[in-house]
Symmetry: C2
Subunit: 430 residues, 2 copies
Amino acid sequence: MPMDTLHHVVVIGGGFGGLQLVKDLKGLPVRITLVDRRNHHLFQPLLYQVATTLLATSEIAWPIRRLFRDRTEVTTLLAEVEGVDTAARTVALSGGDTIPYDTLVLATGATHAYFGNDQWAPFAPGLKTLEDATTIRRRMLLAFEQAEREADPAVRDALLTFTIIGAGPTGVELAGIIAELAHATLPPEFRNIDTRKTRVVLVEAGARVLSGFAEPLSDYAYKALEKLGVEVHLGKPVTKCSAAGVMIGEAFIPSRTIVWAAGVQASPAAKWLGVPADRAGRVIVEKDLSAPGFPQVFVIGDTASVLNDDGKPIPGIAPAAKQQGAYVAKVLRARLRQTPAPGSFRYRHQGSLATIGRRSAIIDFGRIQLTGALAWWIWGIAHIYFLIGTRSRFAVAWSWLWIYLSGQHTARLITQKESVEPPFSGQPDP
Amino acid sequence: MPMDTLHHVVVIGGGFGGLQLVKDLKGLPVRITLVDRRNHHLFQPLLYQVATTLLATSEIAWPIRRLFRDRTEVTTLLAEVEGVDTAARTVALSGGDTIPYDTLVLATGATHAYFGNDQWAPFAPGLKTLEDATTIRRRMLLAFEQAEREADPAVRDALLTFTIIGAGPTGVELAGIIAELAHATLPPEFRNIDTRKTRVVLVEAGARVLSGFAEPLSDYAYKALEKLGVEVHLGKPVTKCSAAGVMIGEAFIPSRTIVWAAGVQASPAAKWLGVPADRAGRVIVEKDLSAPGFPQVFVIGDTASVLNDDGKPIPGIAPAAKQQGAYVAKVLRARLRQTPAPGSFRYRHQGSLATIGRRSAIIDFGRIQLTGALAWWIWGIAHIYFLIGTRSRFAVAWSWLWIYLSGQHTARLITQKESVEPPFSGQPDP
């Protein structure tokens, strides 16, 4: 059968869900076009380690087209999607191209959100892309460098205060590593400042850290953070971010470096389709993950709002996206082979993991809960296992082993100057 | 003796010369301030491997302050130098600080130069910093991505034409690796284009490639480049660079990606001191590498113009800078200990090396000349030996071994979007 007459599956997004789907479509009589606006798949669960100098960018990102080089039915395109025409069944790409589809899968992910305070973005970057990670790395390292040259003690203290907003896994992981960097790795390298006096402030509007975990594990993480010297502020919403610092309720914390790890906003897939979305912008999908009214369009991963059997929303984590990608592949397989469709999508939670610093972690398997060094080793092995390719597994294992044995971080580079650096006065804004 | 009364050596620049000097001053009764505008020392001889996706940025760059963390008399500052006041004996830093010195060493290196055609810079980036390398990497990978989506054959051909200007070691190394990437690594990954048809054009105004080497070695390199499929144009100066391509004499080569590997220009040390410079802006130093009229100011590395005993200029390579750093340390040691000064600086040439692609190289030890695979292995081992630190040696050795065995490159990432992307019409400018 010539390629052009084959059923054409267009997949937008090469994240965990999109990749799993394309993998699982192997062997079906389809041609596949995989579109992403980046040339690489990113292993987001370890992105915070790039931001905190533990890993290099290329250790957690892989060119998407390389992953499918042996699948000649898969065409990979680097392009931005501008819209979907559901009547004509085409996707509009930046530059004016349109691609027709028989089946469309939107796996376009989410970005960070400032809850209506987008003006905070320049002062409190989020962590979703490799550039976000190198920006945070650069700002953090520059703050220490500037503090070393700063004569005014108040400004120096603000430079040596790092505030992380949001105590989910990313916020906790960032805070733990920054505290270890400042308190253990950097002290012998500076002459004018004592980096052990660095304040790492973790601010959470909710009542506890890592609220997705069982309460005893949250408590363990809270104590582990305190042991690392992290100041944790719970139940305190941020009311302002500026170049000078963060306002928490009525209190102002002068802080040069702020990281936003608080909210997410889905990509505009709901707008493209003109279908209802939840508060975070996620498409409220049918039980087979298709968009309401469009059985040939599926939405998966962080772009989809899916409720579990217990009525709780499915978490926005890699295993959930992968399961959805695998499920849609099953649905398509049944349709193409004209066999009965699989039952509704059901999410199987395999467990939650989070690390606090370089020696401890928490794992929540539901019945089994683990903390401490053992959990940390399981966490590390699991993450190496889920990386793509032998080379990355060796490289990350080697980086971690080196850091573990030597205490020296791999990638302490200040690169990629920003065109517009936020001004800094050291004083609260008027 | 309290720190403040010690002789204060200020070193500007943490390149090969500056680092060697600071290392060799160990044990002397001095305090040292090492200033660099970057936080990292860069192993420039392998920078082209970052530009061509073979190595990751963190494999060839190290935080300067980490290198001297055990030397408590060394203070490292991240700062830009704005001028030198030779009367007051102070260095002016960006931000308004000044540092007094007893001895000043300027090791500020060189940047690429466009011979009075600075308007070519946006179209033909040079290769001196990590950002330059990721910019070239990004443009090169983007050209393949855009070609995969391009319908117009003329535009596609321009996207698949890579022009390197200057056939010194950097130009030859870039051309060889790009040719191998296009002709061997990428073909199975693209569906709409045949990357084996990629043109890699190497343009040289002079009569031969690698003119710093003996003529038989140049001839070998020329043939090796041809075997890799590189088009070499000799004796042809570039008369124009634009977003559409390169004008060589009267002929126009439509080319989306252009790299400038042709000229160097010293940093403005001569202007800071108000002393004579050669055509490339290098300070014409005394026989002890001090600046004329300022015995307490030394200029070393690519910023200094030094003639060898045979009247030829010393090449701008890492071993020359290191020898100059070591020599100035000896001069300072003699001055501080009031022993006789060492004789004039003499450069000992240890040999020249260059690679062509991933399997062949040329080595010129003067009497002994080597080519081919053996030269390539010697080149590789020498470069790993000269890297800083066990970790980097292992990491680079591992990356190279992986590439050698698998043919897969490490760091094929498109990152760091440019704020202003040069426009591209595919047609020569009017």
